[in-house]
Symmetry: C2
Subunit: 319 residues, 2 copies
């Protein structure tokens, strides 16, 4: 059974009536699972996490485009987050039985249908990008809704689907395919920010660390300890256990230790299994392919100190 995740971001995070009318369209669709949605008032933006069958996902995205076209006029929109469309970005993410190349094809199909149906131009980004300078969304979106009116006419910035003019109220959309991103935080016993700061620097790509890790330090006031906060952009190449064990190793020099770890949002079962296999192998244990989600939850707590974690954080729980 093919399953993709899709995380459309729409440009309304303040007007609850509008948000509800948009979310109602999504909630009514019984073929797609709404995992979560979060509106941010400062950003004036809502992030929606969906999983389900790829073709049904595209159907829902089209219905969502229709309601956003009705509800949102970007000429009247302001917020702290950069945006170029009423739906700003639509990434397709492989979850189960789907290749990245298929997600690229779904993003192309989705973009084509959006343009043909609503005359909203679309740019393909990330793995779906057809030009080097379209891989990173911020490079496409630079200038935002206001600037895209002229930018889209430049030869280098013609949209991948559509003509050289943005939709007058909706703008334009980035549609793409990318890997699952694991938002992962490790708690350090220390209240001093220095260990978290240095360890983040040791492990993140931008200072020569692991190739798919973004990391920074944070002090959690409520919990009264520090944290290394991370995104793992490719959990296959930089598995969770390797990041965890490297942080544990580096923490020793600061006479501190890891007291816990958390996943923000969801995580694919595969990302957990890939890490558990390390610990099982170290302990001469076998991983059983029919392990239940409950078994997996028990063991990630045991070996990787996950806290506030249960089956509902694993994507497969919703399938």
């Amino acid at each position: 059974m093919k399953i993709v995740e899709c995380v459309p971001n729409f440009s309304e995070g303040r007007d609850l009536d509008k948000i509800n009318r948009i979310m109602d369209v999504i909630k009514k669709d019984e073929s797609i699972k709404l995992v979560n949605y979060e509106s941010d008032v400062d950003y004036n933006r809502t992030v929606v996490t969906l999983i389900g069958d790829p073709d049904k996902m595209i159907d829902l995205i089209l219905k969502m485009t229709e309601v956003c076209l009705k509800e949102i006029d970007l000429n009247k929109h302001s917020g702290e987050h950069a945006r170029m469309g009423a739906i700003d970005v639509i990434p397709f993410i492989p979850v189960s039985d789907v290749l990245m190349s298929e997600c690229v094809a779904y993003s192309e199909k989705c973009a084509e249908l959006i343009y043909n149906t609503y005359q909203i131009p679309c740019f393909l980004y990330a793995e779906a990008a057809r030009k080097e300078d379209r891989v990173l969304l911020p490079s496409i979106r630079k200038g935002e809704f206001e600037g895209m009116k002229d930018k889209i006419k430049e030869e280098n910035w013609l949209p991948d689907f559509g003509e050289a003019k943005i939709h007058p109220t909706f703008g334009c959309i980035g549609v793409g395919a990318r890997d699952f991103l694991v938002a992962y935080n490790i708690d350090l016993e220390s209240k001093d920010i220095k260990p978290a700061k240095n360890i983040a620097r040791y492990i993140r790509k931008s200072s020569g660390g692991f190739g798919f890790v973004q990391a920074g330090p944070v002090f959690l006031e409520n919990r009264n300890h520090t944290q290394v906060t991370m995104n793992i952009l490719n959990y296959k190449k930089n598995p969770i256990y390797r990041v965890f064990e490297t942080v544990r190793m580096e923490a020793k020099r600061y006479q501190t230790e890891i007291t816990g770890a958390e996943i923000v949002g969801l995580v694919p079962k595969d990302a957990l299994v890939k890490s558990l296999k390390y610990y099982y192998a170290c302990n001469n244990l076998t991983f059983f392919e029919d392990s239940s989600l409950k078994d997996i939850v028990r063991d990630v707590k045991k070996y990787m100190l996950f806290r506030d974690f249960d089956e509902t954080k694993i994507i497969e729980y919703f399938l």
Copy 2:
């Protein structure tokens, strides 16, 4: 006291008479320390490692250019290693009391003097590169001596010093500045190549590992065990201890362990001290700045299992 390392490679590795006449010029220079030289018959190339005062280094490189100009005719040269000059490459490497920016300046001065004196065109590469596509030497050298005759006339490949034609017998030279490269190997108890192969993949940049690590697996017939063989291109950002501890952690899943480690060639004291400080901190010990090279040798053996290692492998021993 400013000290640089310089590792000129010249294009003769077979004719012992020629090699000796070239090396004699180097050996006679008492102001520069010849650390090591190695001729490779298959490559038909000799790698020379020198350390000393930067200005005296440039003087010696000029004398070496003169003798190579006399001894080597690239029209008659063949070998497995790509080459574009009788001296093919001249990297300047900061060792003591010298900044990278100063090494860039030395490489520029050296290249300018070589062209002005012998009319051999020079390309600046690595940290000294003035164009993106000159950072990597292979990109400059593509086409080799034979192809450079035409390539150097292309607008994009005009040399940084000299006119748009190579020297008829000497060719042209890549002169540059780079960080010290630590050639570092870790022994695994296992005779099976699989752990070494997988671990090399986990840690090297090209598969998403550490940003400055190149790594591969090797089976050592004489010693009857496997090894992860590595270059650490920046030991400040990817210190030896971090690579060592990560390999140790990954080895556990294969029920194997690290039995030793070796440095090929030389290593700066600073690279060892940076790693020892990790172990001292873990063990609540203080590093003393006046530690002798003997102390350092003792402790890298203790904490990082260095074998076949003594003071003569540390650059500072020669100063």
